[in-house]
Symmetry: C2
Subunit: 336 residues, 2 copies
C-alpha cells in the first residue's frame, strides 16, 4: 500500500498530481497539504489602476510603508518586494560566486535546489555552528516542517560572525507572521537577509507576494536590479498594502490560529498520531503507518503532505470550514 | 521651458514622477505615456483558488493551452509564462556567457539595461545584418516607439543564421497582438526566442503576465529553471486563460484599435504634429517644440512620453473614454 518515495510530489498543494493519482476532480479536494491559512484576508475592492496600469511607484511606496510598519523593519534596512517568496529564493543564489552553502535540514527543499542550480556546494546540517562563515547559511525560522525555532540572539550573533568573514545568513521567515516576537525583521542584522512570504498567513498564496529585508545594501541593490521594474502586480500591491496595514486582523488571526492549531493537534493525537512539531499553520506528526494514512486520506479526497525521506512523517494544514473539520475528523476515525 | 533630458523619466506610466513635477494628484492624470489599450479585457469573476491557493499545474496548463491557441504556437516550441514580459527580459541575459549583443535602436531601453547588467558587450544598430551571429541580436517587432516592422521571412533567415553559429535572436513582440500576421510565434524558428506581453493589448498591465516562445529547448529549460515554480499569479493565470481563449474579443479589439489610432493620428496631425511612426496602440510624432508640448500637456494633467535623446519626438497612447478624447483635443487646440 505504501507509495514509493519517488512518487511523492515535491511540494504540498499539487492537486493536479493528487487528481491524477486518486482520480477525483480538483474541486472535490480538501487540501491540507500546505501551511496556508484557510481563512484568508478579506479581499478589498481593487481600484481599476491595480489591473490596468503598470504598477506605479506610489503603490510600491505604499506597500513598502505598510510592510515596514507591520514587520517593524528599521529604516536602516532595505525592503525588496517580489512576486512571491519563491522569486527571491530563485534569485538570491545568483548574487554570490559559487561557494559553500549550508542548509539546516530537513526543510523546504527549494533552497537546496536554487543554490545547487547556481553552482554552489550545498550541504545539509542540523547545527548552524558547523557552517562555514565565509559562505552561506540558510535556515527557515520557524522551520518547515518541524517548527524548530532559532533563538533571536543566537541568530544575530551568527549573522555577525558571517558578516565579519564575508558570509551571509539567509533566514526564511515564511511562517513567522504568527510569531512576531521571533522575527529578525526588527533587528535586520548585518550579514543577514530575511525572506517573508505574504500568502501563507494572509491565506492568499495565489497572489504571489514576498519580501526580502536586509541591512546589506550591496546585496539589496543587486537583488532589486535582478528583479527589475514592475516586479509585483497591481493587485498584490493593493491587497498587500491593505493587509499589512490591518494590525487588528493580524492580531485576531494570530489568536484564531492558536485555537485552530490546538484543535488540529487534538484531532490528530486522538487518532493515534504523535505530534513531533509544527507551527500554528501546520502540524507535523509521526505514525508507523504514515504512508498508508496518506494513501487512505487521499482516497477520501483529503490531501496531506508526505515526505520522501521520512516515511513515518505526515504534515497536516488547518481545515477551515466546519464541513472541512468534520470531513477530516470523520476520515480519521472511520478508517482506523 | 524645455526639461533637461536628465529629468525625463526612463519609462512611460510614471505618474509619481509626473505628480512630483507638476503637482497634480495621481487620480487626476490622463496618462497617455504608455502603449496600453485603454479599454481592457473585461475582468471575469475569479474563482477563490486564484487568490487563496498556490497556482496549480492545472491552471498553468490551461493558460498554456489558451495562449498556444491564441498565438498559434506549434507543439515543437516551448511556451514559458512569467510575471510580465519584463521578468523575461530580466532573466534572459543571464542564460548566456557574456558576449556581443546588438540591439536594434532606438527601442525599449530595458533590453540594453538587462544585457549590460549581465556583463554583455551591448551595441546599438539599425541594420540587423551588421550583428555578430555568434552573439545575440535583440529587436522589438513592431518596434517601440517608431513602429518599425521586420519582415517575417527575413527574421526566420536571420534566426537560422544565428542558430548556425551559436547565436540567438530575441524578438520582443510586446506590441504584436494587433498584427497576428506579423508574429513569429506560429513559426517559432530555431535560433529565436519570442517575448510576448499580455498587459498591453489586453489593457491589464497591472496583472503582470508575459510569455516566451522558443524552439530552443535548452534555453527554454534554463529559463523555466530560473523562474522557478509558481512564477505566475493565480489571477494572471485565470484572466490570461479567459482572455487568450476569447478570439472574438481579440478580433473586435483589433478593429477598434485601428479606428481609435486613426482618430488619434488625425487629432495630432490637426494640431501640427508630424506622424513618424507607431502602432495602433501608440503614435510617434515629431514637432520642433516637442519638449514645450510635453511641458504644457503635463501642466494640464496629460502625460505623454518624451525621449531623452530625440528632443523633437513625443509618443502618444490612446485615450479611452469620450471625456479623455475631449480633454486631449481641447488641450491640443487651446494652448497653441
Amino acid at each position: 500500500m505504501s507509495a514509493p518515495p519517488a512518487a511523492l510530489p515535491p511540494h504540498g498543494g499539487d492537486l493536479a498530481a493528487a487528481t491524477a493519482r486518486w482520480g477525483r476532480p480538483a474541486g472535490d479536494w480538501l487540501d491540507l497539504s500546505t501551511g496556508i491559512n484557510p481563512t484568508p484576508y478579506p479581499l478589498p475592492s481593487l481600484p481599476d489602476w491595480a489591473w490596468s496600469h503598470l504598477p506605479g511607484r506610489a503603490a510600491e511606496a505604499a506597500l513598502d510603508t505598510a510592510a515596514r510598519q507591520a514587520l517593524a523593519v528599521p529604516d536602516t534596512a532595505a525592503l525588496i518586494a517580489a512576486s512571491g517568496g519563491q522569486a527571491l529564493i530563485q534569485q538570491l543564489p545568483w548574487l554570490r560566486s559559487p561557494g559553500p552553502v549550508t542548509i539546516l535540514a530537513p526543510t523546504y527543499d527549494e533552497h537546496r535546489r536554487a543554490w545547487a542550480a547556481a553552482g554552489h556546494q550545498v550541504q545539509g546540517a542540523t547545527d548552524p555552528a558547523t557552517a562555514d562563515p565565509t559562505g552561506v547559511l540558510v535556515l527557515v525560522n520557524p522551520n518547515n516542517p518541524d517548527g524548530r525555532i532559532f533563538d533571536r540572539a543566537s541568530l544575530v550573533a551568527l549573522a555577525a560572525r558571517f558578516a565579519a568573514q564575508g558570509g551571509l545568513v539567509v533566514i526564511d521567515e515564511a511562517f513567522a507572521d504568527p510569531y512576531p516576537d521571533q522575527s529578525l525583521c526588527p533587528l535586520a542584522p548585518r550579514g543577514g537577509v530575511i525572506l517573508r512570504s505574504f500568502g501563507k498567513f494572509y491565506g492568499l498564496a495565489g497572489l504571489r507576494l514576498g519580501l526580502a529585508v536586509t541591512a546589506e545594501t550591496t546585496l539589496a541593490e543587486a537583488l532589486r536590479a535582478r528583479l527589475g521594474p514592475w516586479a509585483v502586480s497591481g493587485p498584490a500591491l493593493a491587497i498587500g498594502n491593505a493587509a499589512y496595514a490591518d494590525s487588528a486582523w493580524a492580531e485576531a488571526t494570530r489568536q484564531a490560529l492558536v485555537a485552530a492549531s490546538s484543535r488540529l493537534d487534538a484531532v490528530l493525537t486522538g487518532a493515534g498520531f504523535e505530534r513531533i512539531g509544527g507551527t500554528v499553520l501546520f502540524t507535523l506528526v509521526r505514525h508507523p503507518k504514515a504512508r498508508e494514512w496518506w494513501e487512505r486520506l487521499g482516497q477520501q479526497g483529503i490531501l496531506v503532505r508526505a515526505f520522501a525521506e521520512q516515511s513515518d512523517w505526515l504534515r497536516f494544514g488547518l481545515p477551515g470550514s466546519t464541513a472541512d473539520w468534520n470531513r477530516l475528523e470523520q476520515a480519521l476515525t472511520s478508517v482506523q
